[in-house]
């Protein structure tokens, strides 16, 4: 069985990629790509007390999620969500492991509660007031497709629109040497079971054995290969080109994901 959904809104943040409009211009060849550190927005929607506690991973996830929701003209309060990431907050993880390696072993309670993999999903629900369910996934380098598959099954089985957020941030040293994610990258998609006024394209997803696509532009390919969420770049490229076609996206060693794309407008 193949799974279908409509893309109603897109959010993107990454090195030299500030939002979907700018990213679409780059991916469709209308604008040259210039790499630079990822710029993360301040999550102004969070209450001040919570805002102070949020690290880069929360800023990234909320930033791309908000852009996608706005583009889809969707109500965040009503949408279930899928958050997929290879890691939780790498800086907090480092601080806790560092603290535990010292004799006093003083772990900050706030850091501990923010260390959970589902912290961005928790902050999203606090920020939006959404009491809908939120699924939080990890599949290491395969996290983008793991999130997309979970989202597509929700759209198709439960027949409801949802928000998919795939995002990754870096670890500081010394963990960085063991998991060298260079910078923050996130993609958010609002997916809907039926065509809406905002629908940009129809996706049809199935598992396949075919060889996966890479990016022609070397710097973008370096991004795709080094940040799990950036494995979605070939899909974004197809969406930016607004053409019909099929793209194979890297997933596990035992499977790839084939995505058929039909533009809606």
């Amino acid at each position: 069985m193949s799974l279908t959904a409509y893309v109603d809104g897109i959010g993107v943040l990454g090195p030299g990629l500030n939002g979907w409009q700018e990213t679409a211009a780059i991916l469709s060849g209308r604008r040259a790509y210039a790499s630079g550190p990822t710029v993360l927005p301040t999550p102004s929607m969070l209450p001040a007390a919570e805002r102070r506690r949020t690290g880069r991973v929360v800023k990234l996830a909320l930033g791309v999620a908000l852009e996608a929701i706005a583009a889809a003209a969707a109500d965040a309060l009503l949408l279930p969500s899928v958050f997929s990431s290879s890691g939780s907050d790498g800086h907090i993880c480092h601080e806790i492991c560092q603290a535990l390696s010292l004799p006093a072993r003083e772990v900050s309670p706030t850091r501990f509660s923010n260390s959970v993999h589902n912290a961005p999903a928790g902050y999203w629900s606090i920020a939006t007031g959404a009491m809908t369910e939120s699924n939080v996934l990890c599949a290491f380098d395969a996290s983008f497709i793991a999130g997309l598959l979970d989202a597509m099954t929700q759209v198709n089985v439960d027949r409801r629109a949802l928000l998919l957020v795939a995002y990754d941030t870096e670890y500081p040293p010394p963990l960085h040497a063991k998991r060298p994610i260079p910078d923050a990258f996130g993609i958010a998609l609002v997916l809907s079971p039926q065509l809406t006024r905002q629908s940009l394209a129809r996706l049809e997803v199935a598992l396949t054995d075919e060889a996966f696509a890479t990016m022609r532009e070397p710097q973008l390919e370096a991004l795709r290969a080094s940040i799990p969420a950036a494995r979605g770049l070939p899909l974004l490229e197809m969406l930016a080109l607004r053409g019909a076609g099929r793209i194979i996206i890297e997933y596990l060693d035992t499977a790839r994901a084939g995505v058929q794309i039909e533009p809606c407008r």
Partner: protein, 397 residues
């Protein structure tokens, strides 16, 4: 939702290695909690430590996965003929049609904690022996199970703190219904580590005594560890008399606070109601509720209000965490297996370590085992980030 069959299941926690030992401990109301002597930890607390984890070896080809969390997963996979049942599923459907859905909160982060003590004194670099992908990363345990069982279908770790492995059932049942797979290996594995022991201690959420869910003097959790697995599949035309079905999954978010539950249990209530709706059941159809019941003052108060608001004050309920400890990301899967054992064996396990039930908690908490036919069980799992999941299991009779 369409009911699905819990074809085979197993659980390993401090009360028992494998399902028969788990059942025996529940029947005897035996707790596995003991004073914490784990690793170099110096916290005044009790823990639920699984015996034999350190001695467990992984197959040589999977040595790169070696860490406490994957050793615990391996120990659990070896029980109750579970690996044979997985192999039978692979033989029947093919390895690509079996998916893996494992809940964990900390995976093998203990390995990273140990590596930080072994950093190069000059450069600060982590030691060469430390393998991030196959031990620390949340996916490591799902990947271990996938490779150990030779599976080639979709594989994912679910990491929603203490609701992780309950939510694994939600993702798995959807992927089966979507016909991407025929069988799902669903479960949870979380193992003792310093991050959670010192972290909960810093939040003043862990008790020095064995945890006492719903007790008037309850003062926190006892951290435990567990691995529990089940095979989930479509319901076949004919069923054994003792078959157990997954009837409903309900999920929600509190949208309230990162580490404190909604004071009136609104998110929990929403998850419970949504599970009943998914199953097409009324509250009166539930015979027993396996509570999240962690033993912190606020968690139990919030959950009691949620349960009472849906069920009133008559449905028997209890927490098995006084016996097993709070096994965090594995709790949902462990308590799913306990729910299945309750249905198969006609027993509602009474909560242990609870001496004097808090009179302000209105849910009908049972302290003694109750022998009676158990047709349907609701199991609650809630976590940091305000994430909630309720599962309903039922007899096929």
């Amino acid at each position: 939702m369409t009911p699905q069959l819990l074809k085979h299941f197993t659980a390993t926690s401090c009360i028992g290695t494998g399902a028969p030992a788990t059942l025996a401990a529940l029947m005897q109301q035996r707790s596995g909690l003991k004073y914490c002597e784990f690793e170099t930890v110096t916290i005044d607390t009790h823990i639920g430590e699984v015996p034999g984890v350190d001695a467990q070896r992984l197959p040589p080809a999977l040595r790169k996965f070696d860490c406490r969390n994957n050793r615990l997963a391996e120990l659990a996979l070896l029980q109750d003929g579970f690996l044979d049942a997985v192999q039978a599923a692979v033989d029947r459907c093919g390895p690509r049609r079996v998916g893996v859905f494992i809940g964990t909160s900390t995976a093998g982060v203990l390995q990273t904690e140990l590596a930080y003590r072994d950093r190069d004194p000059d450069s600060g670099a982590l030691p060469a022996w430390f393998q991030y992908a196959t031990t620390h990363n949340s996916f490591s345990v799902a990947d271990y199970v996938r490779q150990r069982c030779g599976l080639q279908g979709p594989a994912v770790a679910l990491s929603s703190a203490c609701a992780s492995s309950a939510k694994a059932f939600g993702s798995a049942r959807r992927m089966i219904e979507a016909n991407l797979i025929d069988v799902a290996l669903v479960g949870g594995t979380d193992s003792l580590c310093l991050t959670t022991l010192y972290g909960f201690h810093s939040l003043q959420l862990s008790s020095s005594a064995p945890c006492r869910p719903f007790d008037v003097a309850r003062d926190g959790i006892s951290i435990g560890e567990a691995a529990a697995f089940a095979l989930l599949q479509r319901v076949p035309d004919s069923l054994d008399r003792d078959a157990v079905l997954l009837l409903g999954v309900g999920e929600s978010s509190d949208a309230y606070h990162m580490s404190a539950p909604h004071p009136e249990g609104l998110g929990a209530r929403r998850a419970i109601q949504s599970a009943l709706d998914a199953a097409g059941l009324d509250p009166a159809d539930i015979d027993y509720i396996n509570l999240h019941g962690t033993g912190t003052p606020s968690n139990d108060r919030s959950e009691s209000q949620a349960v009472t608001s849906v069920f009133g004050a008559t449905t028997p309920c209890s927490s098995t965490k006084g016996a097993t400890g709070h096994t965090l990301g594995a709790a949902g899967a462990l308590e799913a297996v306990i729910s299945a054992l309750a249905i198969r064996n006609g027993v509602m396990p009474g909560g242990v370590h609870t001496n004097c039930i808090d009179p302000t908690l209105t849910a009908h908490y049972i302290r003694a085992n109750k022998r009676a036919p158990v047709t349907r069980v609701l199991s609650n799992s809630f976590g940091f980030g305000g994430t909630n999941c309720s599962l309903i299991f039922g007899s096929a009779r």
